[in-house]
Amino acid sequence: MDILRFITCGSVDDGKSTLIGRLLFDSSSVSSDILAAIERQSRNLPEGEMDLSLLTDGLRSEREQGITIDVAYKYFSTPRRKFIIADAPGHVQYTRNMVTGASNTDLAIILIDARNGVVEQTRRHSMIASLLGIPHVVVCINKMDLVNYSKQVFHDIVADFLELRKELHFKDLDFIPVSALAGDNVVRNSVYTPWYEGPPLLEYLETVAIASDRNLSDPRFQVQYVIRPKSDDLHDYRGYAGQVQSGIYRVGDAVTVFPAGLQSVITKIEVNRTEVSEAFAPQAAVMHLADDLDISRGNTIVRSDKLPQVTQDIEAILCITDATDFRAGSKFLLQHNSALVKCAIRDIAYKLDIETYERIQQPESVRLNDLIKVRLRTAEPLAFDTYRHNRRTGAFILVHENTGQTVAGGMIQEGIEVGMNGANRGMG
């Protein structure tokens, strides 16, 4: 059994909570006392109705206002898979929370109300899914019962969405006509949509192939912590503990350690306190090298025949997550997984309109929830891959040095100084 992480964005009105509620109910993932609590709180509703948003909205203010403000994580499993739902808000003012939910997921469910078709919110959620590189997108055209299960309506919306797709980047895209309220095509195929030949949503989620989404071709390992027992029997032990971010490492591999560019060979790999011949993503491992090098937290150990880009100048898309001053010259801490370096914004190329997808050149101001394209310079070289190529090594966050707030999430598009990459590549 593996794990599928997926995100749903939206508000109560969109049928998001009903859809999640339906998946949880029908997979028997709601316990009796929680159902009773929901019934208690649904007393003011018409007989027999339950407010399923109470299942998903966890904070007092969310329940009071009937909106989702922050991501809630929900869990269910079927015999085939464990599922982690990131139940995220849909409003534009909570974009940063949507990005939190989207950053780690394998799949996005985009809900479209069949009566309204593709609307601004659809464009926004699709942009987030595309930008965050979510490999699988399934568009659920919901409330089909309210349009008489019309094949024409479904196909028109699909056509509109495919038009939208031309401006976006999805690896894998599918469409399902559903009624979350009536249960059509959620867990079982609906008798009202004989023209739909695909699987119901749950089966889709159970079977969508995610094994190949994992990058096993570029060996990347960042040191989180150096294990040095310093005891009598282990005084020579020096293990580099971290997670294999992508790729496969084997004992005997020639490796290069960045940013210094030092070379060595793997002599031993431990996983789960046991010596193994190979470690692969996303295993937690301890690496041992032949040479006694100066390696510390944040250093990247890569296989010498598959080098990353190494440079101090990068281009990235930022999602602004805090109200702070963003302009050319602004300085922040850049956290690239376990590496922490100072950086400065060199210039802001454009702002991306999350709904129209227009690029606004030379924007006058940058606000919370904006998406901007920037050039950054870091105080020390960064070893990375582009985000498109590797979600684990192409992502970073910007941290405000004084407040400690996470002020932006960043996705690296390119390293700029090609000459320097060439030099480093030559060393391998």
Partner: protein, 303 residues
């Protein structure tokens, strides 16, 4: 299918170890909050995988309500001794004295809310800047919202409406003096995941998780509360001698037992699959106080 395949327990384990190592790498004064329950025992097991053959980069800290089951305290002490790791115990009793608090009255006096005082005192005493806990998001709906690295201000307060974004697997532990981060490495595990992992890894647990005979007061709601010196039993109460086990381990005054004949972990897993009631719903008497019980406690500095 390629051979580099990991199942859900491997994936959850790798995630948790990564988080534990981020704590070790980012903080100079972390602590692991240890209750003696299955979740914190699992955390200790994960810490062994993250840091052995080195020592833990943090002590184990137990906030002792004074209302614990003796089996759990004995287990705690034995585990710490076997590991050779430092155990710090701080007592709610002492916080009651120090802050002139009122020990809760009533038949089943829960010191659960008072733990917050002891926890915050302990954080101050040792200047802990990161506290690792075994909370899971499937337990409760406020917990379902909390980040893995959860920022607390210098009063220990959680601000649920303005949490730091937490993107990818990048954990921002930067804080100012006096603030701290609560860290939840097993956020994404469910109760069943924990039990499947305990079975796979052959992790030892306190005996009260398994079936045993014990005199219990039967509460009006049908819940069973162990007869201990910490509660008041009146002649009108119904006391039954029942075959029970504990699904969670907490304060003996507010953690109910469940009827069960489960002798092995397989039996327990079967029990949980067949039971349609949630873990906290079945066993935690204090969560029923209000819909936002946990949210309110967390806002005030609770685990």
């Amino acid at each position: 299918m390629n051979k580099q395949q990991l199942d859900h327990l491997d994936l959850l384990e790798a995630e948790a170890i990564h988080i534990l190592r981020e704590v070790a790498g980012q903080f100079d004064r972390p602590a692991l909050l240890f209750s003696g329950g299955k979740d914190s025992i699992t955390l200790v097991h994960l810490a062994l995988k993250a840091f052995r053959p080195g020592r833990f980069p943090f002590p184990l800290v137990h906030i002792d309500t004074g209302h614990n089951f003796p089996e759990v305290i004995a287990f705690r002490d034995q585990l710490a001794a076997e590991l050779g790791e430092r155990l710090i115990v701080r007592k709610v009793e002492d916080s009651i004295q120090k802050h002139h608090l009122t020990d809760p009255k009533g038949k089943y006096p829960s010191r659960n809310p008072l733990q917050t005082y002891t926890l915050l005192d302990t954080i101050e005493e040792f200047e802990f800047n990161a506290c690792i806990g075994g909370a899971r998001r499937d337990e409760e709906k406020a917990r379902a919202k909390e980040r893995i690295f959860s920022h607390r201000d210098d009063f220990g307060q959680w601000n649920p409406k303005n949490q730091r974004p937490e993107m990818w697997n990048i954990y921002n532990g930067r804080i100012r003096k006096g603030e701290n981060i609560r860290v939840f490495p097993i956020s994404n595990w469910t109760e069943l995941d924990i039990w499947h992992y305990i079975r796979r890894e052959k992790i030892e647990l306190p005996s009260i998780y398994y079936t045993h005979r014990r005199p219990c007061v039967e509460l009006p709601g049908g819940q069973l509360l162990a007869v201990t010196p910490f509660i008041t039993v009146e002649p009108t109460d119904t006391v039954v001698e029942a075959e029970v086990r504990f699904r969670t381990v907490g304060d003996a005054t507010c953690t109910a037992a469940v009827r069960s004949t489960a002798r092995s972990i397989d039996d327990i897993i079967q029990d949980i699959i067949e039971t349609r009631i949630s873990e906290r719903g079945a066993t935690r008497i204090d969560d029923l106080i209000s819909e936002a019980g946990m949210e309110d406690r967390k806002v005030n500095g609770y685990f």
